[in-house]
Symmetry: C2
Subunit: 149 residues, 2 copies
C-alpha cells in the first residue's frame, strides 16, 4: 500500500448519448475510422453529430460496432449478412420475450383456475354436507310451541 491515495471517478453517461468522436470510437471498437464512416454510409450505424458536424458515437453505438466487428472479422459475414443478422436477432429477441411473458401469464392463469376450482369444490362439498347431515323430518316453518315432545 502506497502512502498516496489513488482517487477514481466515474461519470454516468446515458448509453444512447453520443460522446465519443470517431478516433475514440474506432479505438474502442478496434476498427479503422474510415471503416466507421463506411458503415454509416451503408446505414449500419448512425452516430449523432455535434453542431459542427463531427460524429459522436454513444456507448450503444460502440457495442454495436463490436458486434459487427465480431461478425465480419471472426465469422466472415459481409455487410449485407450483418444487416440481415442484426435484424433477425432483434426479431428473435422480441419473440423470445413475448414467449416468456406468455409463459408467466399462463402459469398465473392456471394458478387462478386451480384456485377457483378449489373454491367451487369447497362450496359444493359444504352444501352437500348440509344435506347429508340433516336426517328425517320435513323442513317447515314452525312456531315455538308447535312442536310437541
Amino acid at each position: 500500500m502506497s502512502a498516496r491515495r489513488r482517487t477514481t471517478t466515474r461519470i454516468d453517461v446515458s448509453i444512447d448519448r453520443g460522446v465519443f468522436m470517431i478516433s475514440v470510437a474506432a479505438e474502442l471498437a478496434e476498427m479503422h475510422p474510415q471503416t466507421l464512416r463506411m458503415y454509416e454510409a451503408r446505414g449500419l450505424i448512425e452516430p449523432q453529430r455535434s453542431p459542427k458536424g463531427t460524429r459522436l458515437y454513444s456507448q450503444a453505438d460502440v457495442e454495436r460496432l463490436r458486434r459487427i466487428q465480431e461478425m465480419t472479422a471472426e465469422l466472415g459475414l459481409n455487410l449485407a449478412g450483418v444487416e440481415r443478422v442484426l435484424e433477425l436477432e432483434l426479431r428473435l429477441e422480441r419473440t423470445r420475450r413475448r414467449a416468456e411473458m406468455l409463459e408467466r401469464q399462463l402459469a398465473e392463469a392456471r394458478r387462478e383456475a386451480e384456485e377457483a376450482r378449489a373454491e367451487a369444490e369447497r362450496l359444493h362439498r359444504e352444501s352437500r354436507a348440509e344435506i347429508v347431515k340433516y336426517r328425517g323430518g320435513a323442513i317447515v316453518p314452525v312456531r315455538r310451541g308447535d312442536v310437541r315432545r
Copy 2:
C-alpha cells in the same frame, strides 16, 4: 379444343427423398452445377447419394437452394451470412411457434378459470339464497305427526 385429349400424370414423391441428379437440381434452382458441389463442400446442403456415388437432391434440397440463391444473388449475402441467417430463421420460427402454442394455452386456461369462477359464484349465490329464503322457526328433526296445525 383439340380432338386429342392431353393426359397428365403426377408422381407423389416424399419432399425429403433424393430424386434429382445434379444437372436437374441445378436447373430447377437456376444455379451452376459446380456451385451446388461447392455448397456441399461448405456444408450448406447435403444431398443423398446413389449407390454409385451420384448426388441426389430432394425437393426440400431444391427449395433450400432457391432460398440460398435468393440470399446471395438478390440480397448479396456471402455464404457465412447465409449459414447464419438460415440458422437464425430456424430458431425464430421455432420460438414463434412456441409463442403461438402458449397463446392458445393461455386462452384455454383463462377460459377455464372463468368457468370455475362462475361455478363458484353460482354455488355461493345458491347457498346464500337458501339462508335468505328461510324465515322463522327452527330447523329441528321432527317426525310426521309431530307437527300440529
